[in-house]
């Protein structure tokens, strides 16, 4: 017998849900087949993640199947400076994602405090507006949340909720200019095709102050690394906000509304907030009295070619390489330490794909036999911001940019 439908659910959705549970009950519990599914284990408690290939994706680390939240295995970041589309991380908030998109019917609407409401097809976007390409890092606000100590609730990501891609699309600024901004306009709000399952759940909406749009390189993108966006990364259109956390990079974007006031929807006013102080951090266990929206990314770097816990042969020239990025000032230098931060030396920066891209770096070091090393990298951007030597804490697990450590031993 089914329980009565909970308030706030449509009958159809409730039926789908209860049928699924009914099917489960009939089947009993899922069998424990631990030996069969490939998995990776993130280095924190409850860090086991099965590797499963969703359509259009190679096997990725599944955090949740519904809504899809897939982490890029970290070794991918050593293979290329641009993250392949089929390996790019995935994070949805709401599970009611359309299963079909008809590109002939699809329209992007620009409305609200504008002179003229626009309803643009994909062809209109490509034909009526200049096409722009930018390399930019897309990083989840909660990337690396699993490393917070003490641990905090939320999606338990390792370092793989990020990726770097070349995004092609049209400037948000050009779209707004075409529509004509009303004199009292203050914010621009973005909505995608995803919807909540329950009518009582707030729809996922994000807003950006209008004054941030003018000089920015915010795009409405239709291509990623030269291909149409993968379905799970926001096909057919995605907002690209270079330098800002991925929470603003609204997927399946179909609605842009210009507002004449600040947006107080749940995803702006309650979720994705950081303590309102210079570091966005607190003493562990504290709760903030005042908060600000999470916006720009902190400066980070990673060693990509050596795994934590690796055993290496002694070498007169061991190559260490990695990546660095920030909010768009660009990386000025990356320092490397083999002894856990006691001594630092400069690394060689690789090709510059733009201020918002991953920047490769590398260095060659001498490895003595029979030693323990603590490899670290420390990035500094062009305005002198650097990574934190020690992890900072906040209750939502945002902004992590501590120097990460790769422990290495050499054979004797």
């Amino acid at each position: 017998m089914n329980p009565p439908p909970p308030d706030g659910l449509t009958r159809r959705r409730f039926l789908q849900t209860s049928l699924t549970v009914g099917g489960l009950t009939a089947l009993g519990n899922w069998p424990m087949l631990a030996d069969a599914t490939p998995a990776l284990t993130l280095p924190f408690e409850r860090g086991e993640r099965p590797l499963i290939a969703f359509p259009e994706k190679r096997p990725l680390m599944v955090m949740t199947t519904r809504p899809p939240q897939l982490e890029t295995p970290f070794s991918i970041f050593d293979e290329s400076i641009f993250t392949p589309n089929d390996a790019f991380f995935v994070r949805w908030h709401l599970a009611n994602i359309p299963q079909t998109i008809d590109t002939r019917q699809f329209k992007l609407t620009i409305r609200g405090r504008v002179n003229e409401t626009l309803s643009l097809s994909l062809l209109d976007l490509k034909q009526q507006f200049e096409s722009v390409e930018i390399a930019a890092v897309c990083q989840c606000g909660g990337n690396s949340r699993g490393f917070f100590q003490p641990r905090v609730p939320g999606g338990q990501w390792g370092h793989g909720a990020m990726g770097n891609a070349k995004w092609t699309g049209v400037r948000l600024h050009d779209l707004l200019e075409k529509a004509g901004i009303a004199p009292d306009a203050k914010y621009v709000r973005f909505d995608g095709l995803d919807r909540p399952i329950a009518d009582t759940t707030p729809d996922f909406l994000k807003s950006i102050p209008l004054h941030e749009v003018g000089a920015s390189q915010i795009l409405v993108a239709y291509a990623m690394n030269g291909e149409p966006l993968p379905y799970l990364n926001g096909f057919p259109l995605r907002l690209i906000v270079p330098g800002w956390y991925a929470t603003y990079w609204v997927k399946m974007l179909n609605d842009i509304e210009v507002l004449n006031e600040e947006d107080h929807n749940f995803w702006m006013d309650t979720a994705y907030r950081i303590p309102a102080n210079a570091c966005g951090c607190l003493e562990p266990g504290q709760k903030p009295t005042q908060t600000l929206p999470l916006t720009r990314m902190t400066v980070r770097s990673f060693i990509t070619n050596i795994e934590d816990g690796a055993t290496l042969a002694a070498s007169p020239r061991q190559l260490i390489k990695g990546i660095a990025f920030d909010q768009g000032y660009g990386i000025d230098q990356v320092l490397f330490s083999a002894d856990g931060g006691l001594h630092w030396e400069a690394t060689q920066l690789g090709h510059d794909h733009g201020d918002f891209s991953f920047r490769p770096w590398e260095i060659q070091v001498v490895l003595q036999p029979g030693r323990s090393y603590r490899f670290q990298s420390l990035a500094i951007n062009r305005i002198g911001e650097s990574q934190q030597l020690h992890p900072q804490w906040n209750p939502n697990g945002y902004l992590r940019n501590a120097v990460e450590t790769v422990h290495v031993t050499t054979r004797g």
Binding site: P6, A34, R46, P67, R104, P153, I197
Partner: protein
């Protein structure tokens, strides 16, 4: 159908979808994209309160969200369930919040992450 067979079916249908998707990349005339989202790999495991989780929590997300959490305190689980109700709109009655939080706390602190069924 056994779970193993269901999973074989899902994997096979995903392969066909992936083939269809790559074909689309070269075929301009096809304009409708479809996507087969995988279904939940497992549900909430036996324990007092299991039925609450399998009615309310799974409305919006698969059970992995709880099992991949670090061991949170009972107090934190009560805060999480309250957030799910008041902020996220979970239709759980107030008088069942405590029972659900207790179940989640016990599962999260004692039960391993169930592995997905294998193909």
């Amino acid at each position: 159908m056994t779970p193993r067979l269901i999973y074989s079916f899902l994997i096979i249908s995903n392969v066909w979808l992936a083939l269809g998707a790559s074909a689309w990349g070269n075929e301009v005339s096809q304009t409708v994209r479809t996507y087969a989202f995988p279904t939940d790999p497992f549900f909430y495991q036996p324990g007092p309160g299991q039925e609450l989780a399998n009615v309310y929590c799974i409305i919006c997300h698969s059970a992995e969200y709880m099992y991949t959490q670090p061991p949170h305190s009972k107090k934190t689980w009560i805060e999480i369930v309250n957030k799910m109700k008041r902020a996220m709109g979970c239709p759980i009655p107030d008088d069942q919040i405590g029972s659900l939080a207790t179940y989640l706390f016990q599962q999260n602190s004692t039960s391993p992450i169930p592995p997905p069924a294998s193909p």
